[in-house]
């Protein structure tokens, strides 16, 4: 009886020993590369106690960087959300020429180095460009100021919402919308009452990932920010400055806030995925 059970299992499953070894490898790898970095951030952040942590967070420059990060995310995430919904609507509900190409273009920022995302804006608005000095003449600063940081953030977080919604809305098809229209609803009513409830979890998911990236973006923002303390430093940039000044405890204190953001993102993401599955 015992050996026949094993023989049948071995056709579609590994022996317990192999299973154990594989699980051990996976866990060790994940612990080494994913879990330990988290532990380090938190332990370094509180190395000098909770008081020091608060002091680091409440530092005026740190607070300014938190404010700037929130501001940039508050501008770029809604813009990319509106774009994502519009692009997904156009792509999922209609057949038109060059659709595949459009989807590839939307994906483009994912495969471009963040530094290049910053570089293109430096070239576009820098002192050597046509646009930069002209705007400066009107008193508008783009580079090394909040607009530049926001633009670079929009660039790198551009695909997130569209990426979630396009396949979702393509799967759902247009039958619901056609039914609503046939019942006399206007286009806008159809979107609000039929489409939006159908895509709300996917939308939230995309917004969540978009926000995490927007608040955490480093490379692109670093190129366009100019690193002016208290003015153009976002949280990740402020971490870099503190770290390079060997002010490790303060750097990790600010970093621990971003770890919190990442963990909240993961928890919400898992919760949304469960809703999805139901």
């Amino acid at each position: 009886m015992a050996d026949q059970t094993i023989s049948i299992q071995s056709a579609t499953a590994e022996t317990p020993l192999v299973r154990l070894v594989l699980m051990a490898i996976a866990f060790l790898f994940l612990a080494l590369f994913l879990f330990l970095p988290l532990v380090v951030v938190v332990s370094e952040a509180f190395r000098n106690g909770v008081g020091a942590w608060f002091q680091a967070i409440l530092d005026p420059d740190a607070l300014a960087s938190i404010r700037l990060t929130l501001l940039v995310a508050a501008i770029s995430v809604p813009l990319n959300m509106v774009f994502g919904v519009a692009a997904a609507w156009a792509i999922a509900k209609f057949e038109f020429r060059g659709k595949a190409f459009l989807i590839t273009l939307i994906d483009l920022p994912f495969s471009v180095s963040p530094v290049i995302s910053g570089l293109v804006y430096v070239l576009l608005f820098g002192s050597g460009s046509v646009l930069g000095p002209w705007l400066k003449g009107w008193g508008i600063e783009i580079l090394f100021a909040v607009p530049g940081i926001t633009l670079a953030t929009i660039f790198v977080t551009f695909p997130f919402v569209a990426r979630e919604l396009i396949p979702l809305m393509q799967d759902q098809g247009s039958a619901d919308e056609e039914a609503a229209l046939s019942l006399g609803a206007s286009g806008w009513q159809t979107f609000l009452h039929v489409t939006l409830p159908n895509i709300r979890w996917g939308l939230l998911y995309g917004v969540l990932l978009c926000n995490a990236r927007a608040m955490g973006e480093f490379g692109a923002v670093s190129v366009v920010s100019g690193h002016i303390r208290g003015l153009t430093d976002t949280m990740p940039l402020h971490i870099e400055i503190l770290y390079n000044e060997y002010n490790f405890a303060a750097a990790f204190a600010v970093a621990s806030l971003l770890v919190g953001l990442a963990l909240v993102t993961l928890v919400l993401k898992t919760a949304i995925e469960r809703r999805y599955a139901d």
């Binding site: 050996d3 026949q4 023989s7 049948i8 056709a11």
Partner: protein, 379 residues
């Protein structure tokens, strides 16, 4: 090779999928396991293959007890319902797979593997498609690849799980004939699972009718159709109308009225007959009287829905399409062929065990014998 299944039971957790099944399959036979979904037919097939192990009982391949044998060494050709083709392999690679994974000492040389695979591909009429991938084939073609792949390992038995389940009606018919031909040519012992009674009757040498984890009847297509051993079999195979009757005074009675059908039994019973096996009665002799509530055109006949007897029992009968009965309100008729089952046998599996033991109490009636007695008064 003979196959023996002895007192096999299989439970998945608390649910019993098979209850004490015994079955002998002879070498070269083509056997159908027929039953509704959940009847345990696929579980039985997987037990034979070694994809499941029995909770109790034994499976014999010839004289050899097989349950200790790993699936890889059983040499069963298994054709899965959804074919389970390896989609990253061409047709030729799929068919060659079984030979190419043999241990080095028994593995034929590469050229020979390819030749044998090509022979099989030719046999299943896929010549010219050997370089295609499964995604580039139609459903019927995939089915044939699956069959060729299973036969490449020179199986002792060929097992097919709903082999035509996922195909269009026409393809299904063609493949059915074709499978029969292949079986007759190669002579493999073959067991296939189906829920389609037509398929089972047309194709199999013997049909195993299963219900709720048990075997209801084993027999040739003629036997299971003409002599169903249980109400379930009668209902499941072919069409059935049924009436609760009582027996006495040498007759069958429905609600106190004589039916003109003879029986020397006594007591309550269920009368089964098939809609097309009736004769119309218009001479006033004892018969069944039904009120026609609906009339539908079937392919070659007219199907009437009737309410029969004082109890208003719903039955269906077939009359010729040009018969005036189609326009009437009432119909008088009598089954030409019928079967009686004791009433207590019908309580849908609740008392199936005792019903099984009581099965032989009533001899089955056929039109040839008793009915002839009434012919003079009827026609």
């Amino acid at each position: 090779m003979d196959l023996g299944i002895q007192n096999v039971s299989k439970a998945f957790g608390a649910t019993a999928a098979l209850r004490d099944i015994s079955l002998a399959i002879h070498a070269g036979e083509l056997i159908a396991l027929l039953g509704p979904s959940g009847s345990g037919k696929t579980t039985l097939l997987r037990l034979i293959a070694g994809l499941e192990s029995p909770t109790a009982g034994q499976v014999f391949f010839g004289d050899e007890e097989a349950s200790g044998k790993p699936i890889q060494q059983r040499q069963v050709g298994f054709v899965f319902q959804h074919y389970a083709l390896f989609r990253h392999m061409t047709v030729l690679e799929n068919v060659s797979f079984g030979l190419s994974v043999r241990p080095r000492e028994s593995r034929p040389p590469k050229r020979e593997i390819e030749m044998r695979a090509m022979d099989l591909i030719n046999m299943v009429q896929l010549t010219g498609l050997e370089r295609r991938y499964p995604a580039q084939l139609s459903g019927g073609q995939r089915q044939r690849v699956a069959l060729a792949r299973a036969m490449a390992i020179e199986p002792k038995v060929l097992l097919l799980d709903e082999p035509f389940g996922a195909l269009d009606a026409q393809v299904r018919k063609d493949l059915r004939h074709w499978l029969r031909e292949i079986h007759d040519r190669t002579g493999h012992t073959t067991v296939f699972v189906t829920h389609d009674q037509e398929e089972a009757l047309e194709l199999a040498d013997r049909v195993v009718v299963m219900n709720e984890g048990q075997i209801e009847q084993v027999g040739s297509p003629d036997e299971v159709y003409d002599h169903p051993a249980a109400p379930f079999v009668h209902r499941f195979i072919g069409e059935a109308s049924e009436l609760p009757v009582h027996l006495g005074q040498g007759q069958i009675w429905l609600g106190g009225q004589p039916t003109g059908l003879a029986s020397d039994q006594i007591g309550l019973a269920l009368l089964f007959f098939r809609p097309h096996q009736i004769e119309l009665v218009d001479d006033g002799s004892p018969c069944l009287v039904g009120k026609i509530i609906a009339s539908r055109r079937m392919a070659g006949t007219r199907r009437l829905d009737l309410l029969v007897g004082s109890g208003g029992h719903h039955v269906e009968v077939d009359v010729p399409i040009d018969h005036p009965a189609g326009q009437q309100d009432m119909l008088t008729f009598r089954p030409k062929v019928w079967t009686l089952f004791p009433e207590n046998e019908d309580e849908a599996g609740v008392r199936r065990k005792e019903a099984r033991e009581a099965r032989v109490v009533y001899p089955r009636n056929r039109s040839a014998g008793p009915l002839r007695q009434y012919e003079p008064s009827c026609s």
